[in-house]
């Protein structure tokens, strides 16, 4: 099964090739190495998937990376069911994004650079999901962060883009700080960073506490929460979600890649991968679930009023990631991964459709200036409609099955479960509403842009629409491998939730003892509210289009609060960014740099200069004064000799 190594190595090779030869040699052909490499990875992934499905998993160390005292880290790979699912998601979405970008990035001067970064991004994510120890996970984790910085700030000549790249990187630092501490705590506790050894030892330390600032804290809870900090940053959960909407400054295919396959899913994957640690700490699990639920609702409310087409989808990503954490928090890691997997398809599809719309509109992102595009770009319209239905949770599309499973396990989750379920269901209504608000504003009604834009409207080329069609199939059918028994029994199949069965060896599966009638009720309820959300959107944006404006005026404060994203950015600016800038300007630049370092750097030469000015007077150039000094010296020397030696 050694060929699995090709999966990360092919994109790495493409990256090296493109970054070294891209500018001079490959140039406009830069898509070939990258796309072929990721296609190769996809093929190998399918082979690995078949292997794993036949029960062959693998965990091996290939190479000893670091040895220092009792600290030993290897480069190793773990291929199991969870990894296989992630590999499929990453390589397939990444492949489609590569193909789509051939059309979308066509005339960009940084073409080769774009493909080099895409390959590096894919490589990093593949390393992250295949790691078999914490340090390698951390490597992939940081490499993904680096690539997001490079790609979000891809158009670095644009101020807002380079700022957004920096913002993504710095906000992630906050989470990664916790994550790094978590990894260190893991090592201090278990003496190793290898997954299997840590998981085996986790049960033994479950009751241990550690004293921090006088308070006894459960060790496992501390580790789990620190690790979760990283997930909050990377998966854009409240309160570290601020980087993700700004990440829309990057090229749209990158948004699709970040949101669907790489980067943001890393947090969910990490929690699922480390489920033996998280499961041991009820406190940490509750925190995960509550953060997820709050984020799901929080982001959904913001998405209601945004006008930037990509930002709406960005907030919907944050919201959907919240669902995944809800699932993890109530112990249904499999359901979280299931949603991650279906979400990858319909979210990538939404982004690529948005890219297609922007392509037709000449880069316009304001939905208020669109409208009526259905006529001009039918394929984009239909695929986006299906993606929106899928994300809204309308059966029998992919999103329905995964979202329903999450809400059902949350409903039975006990503890915070019911609260989380209520928040999740509320978010589901909003999801349906904002998704269809987007559809209605963009594709229905009459065109509200300029005449020039109207003439330019066109369906995108095949290289862009074919990936849409392929993803559309995924957005429809991806959920069919995880059909809950209550539905499949109608068709005479007893157990059709193959996905949960497949992942069970790695992440387990919560047994739910509840009557089918309750399950049907919960399921029916969530579908009904989703439909209600769509209906309300129809009333607001098709039937009676004065309502939104009137509502915005009536609830002015609420509207402004949502429109300004709860002022989170402003709060961070005032509490974190500005103090940091002031400290940088006055303490670091002003005092440390300006006084201390400059003082030393300028002071030493000045001292030498002054001393030298005195000393050089001795060098008068007068022959006889030298001779006089010589004679004097000779005289003194002789006097000393005579006096000492007698």
């Amino acid at each position: 099964m050694q060929y699995y190594l090709l999966i990360p190595l092919l994109p790495l090779g493409a990256f090296v090739l493109n970054i070294m030869l891209g500018r001079r040699v490959i140039r406009r052909q830069a898509h070939w190495p990258s796309t072929l490499a990721v296609a190769g990875s996809l093929v190998v992934t399918v082979m690995v998937l078949l292997d794993v499905m036949s029960g062959r998993t693998l965990n091996e160390d290939l190479y000893v990376w670091i040895v220092s005292g009792n600290f030993k880290v290897s480069v190793g790979f773990m291929i199991d069911q969870l990894t296989a699912v992630m590999l499929v998601v990453v390589t397939s979405v990444s492949f489609l994004v590569h193909v789509y970008s051939i059309g979308y990035m066509q005339d960009d001067p940084g073409y080769y650079r774009f493909y080099a970064y895409l390959s590096l991004f894919t490589f990093s994510m593949l390393m992250l999901v295949t790691a078999n120890n914490f340090l390698q996970l951390y490597f992939g984790w940081e490499a993904v962060g680096l690539c997001s910085y490079l790609l979000i700030g891809f158009w670095y000549e644009k101020r807002s883009a380079s700022d957004a790249g920096k913002k993504a990187f710095i906000v992630n630092r906050f989470g990664d700080f916790g994550f790094g501490l978590g990894v260190i705590m893991v090592f201090l506790t278990f003496g190793t960073l290898d997954y299997v050894s840590v998981f085996d030892g986790a049960g033994g330390v479950a009751a241990q506490t550690i004293n921090i600032l006088g308070a006894d804290v459960n060790l496992i809870t501390l580790i789990a929460l620190l690790l979760f900090c990283g997930a909050v940053g990377k998966s854009a959960q409240v309160p570290l979600h601020v980087w993700l909407p700004d990440a829309m400054e990057g090229p749209t295919p990158v948004s699709a890649l970040i949101h669907a396959a790489t980067m943001v899913t890393a947090g969910v994957f990490m929690v699922a991968r480390l489920n033996p640690i998280f499961s041991l700490s009820p406190v940490a699990m509750d925190v995960v679930a509550v953060v997820g639920a709050v984020t799901a609702l929080f982001a959904a409310t913001i998405a209601l009023v945004q006008n930037d087409i990509k930002r709406v989808i960005a907030y919907s990503t944050i919201s959907q990631l919240g669902y995944m954490f809800i699932a993890c928090g109530v112990g249904a890691f499999g359901a979280g991964i299931f949603h991650l997997y279906t979400h990858a398809f319909f979210k990538a599809l939404l982004f690529l459709c948005a890219g297609s719309v922007m392509h037709a509109m000449g880069g316009e992102v304001d939905m208020q200036k669109m409208g009526g595009l259905k006529r001009y770009m039918p394929l984009t319209y239909w695929t986006m409609l299906i993606a929106s239905l899928s994300i809204s949770g309308i059966p029998p599309l992919a999103g329905f099955f995964s979202k329903d499973e999450i809400l059902w396990v949350a409903f039975n989750g006990g503890g915070v479960g019911r609260v989380v379920w209520a928040l999740g269901t509320l978010a589901a209504v909003l999801t349906a509403f904002y998704s269809f608000r987007l559809i209605y504003l963009t594709f229905h009604g009459e065109f509200r842009g300029t005449e020039e834009q109207r003439h330019h409207l066109h369906e995108s080329p095949a290289v862009m629409t074919v990936p849409l069609a392929v993803l559309c199939v995924g957005a429809v059918a991806a959920g069919w491998i995880g059909i809950p028994p209550i539905i499949s029994s109608v068709f005479g199949v007893e157990d059709a939730n193959w996905f949960a069965e497949f992942l069970k060896p790695v992440v387990g599966h919560p047994e739910i003892e509840a009557p089918h009638s309750t399950e049907a009720l919960v399921m029916g309820f969530s579908v009904a509210v989703a439909a209600a959300g769509i209906a309300v959107a129809w009333v607001f944006y098709i039937k009676n289009r004065e309502i939104p404006a009137v509502l915005a005026r009536r609830c002015g404060i609420l509207y402004r609060l949502l429109f300004n994203k709860y002022y989170v950015d402003e709060i961070y600016n005032a509490t974190v960014v500005r103090p940091a800038m002031l400290i940088a300007r006055y303490v670091l630049v002003g005092l440390s740099d300006g006084v201390i370092i400059e003082g030393v750097v300028n002071g030493v030469p000045a001292l030498i200069n002054r001393f030298g000015a005195r000393l050089r007077r001795l060098q008068s150039g007068l022959l006889q004064s030298y001779a006089a000094v010589m004679a004097l010296g000779l005289f003194l020397l002789m006097a000393v000799v005579v006096m000492v030696l007698k």
Binding site: Q619, S620, G621, L622, Q624, A631
Partner: protein
């Protein structure tokens, strides 16, 4: 019989006159002559000591010194003439370009 220290005194005085001349006079030719005086002051003491110790090596050394002084005089005077041609002066203080 003239005692040794008279000779040594004589050599020392000649040498001291040379040193004084070198330091006090500003004319390069005079300074050059003073150097010759210093050499000869040394020569006197070498000859005196050679005779006193009944060792001929001192006198042999004197011959060498005289030979070297002759060569030095030839080269030194040539340099002095060259300097005079270039600067129209032989004043030592005027030649102080090599200062820091």
């Amino acid at each position: 019989m003239v005692p040794l220290y008279w000779y040594l005194w004589l050599g020392g005085v000649v040498f001291a006159i040379g040193v004084f001349g070198f330091l006090a006079r500003r004319n390069i030719i005079i300074m050059f002559l003073s150097i010759e005086l210093m050499l000869n002051g040394v020569n006197i003491s070498l000859v005196a000591l050679s005779h006193y110790m009944q060792d001929l090596r001192g006198q042999i050394l004197v011959f060498f010194i005289i030979a070297v002084a002759a060569a030095e005089a030839a080269i030194g005077l040539a340099i002095i003439i060259a300097m005079f041609r270039n600067r129209d002066t032989l004043h030592a203080d005027e030649m102080a370009e090599m200062k820091g």
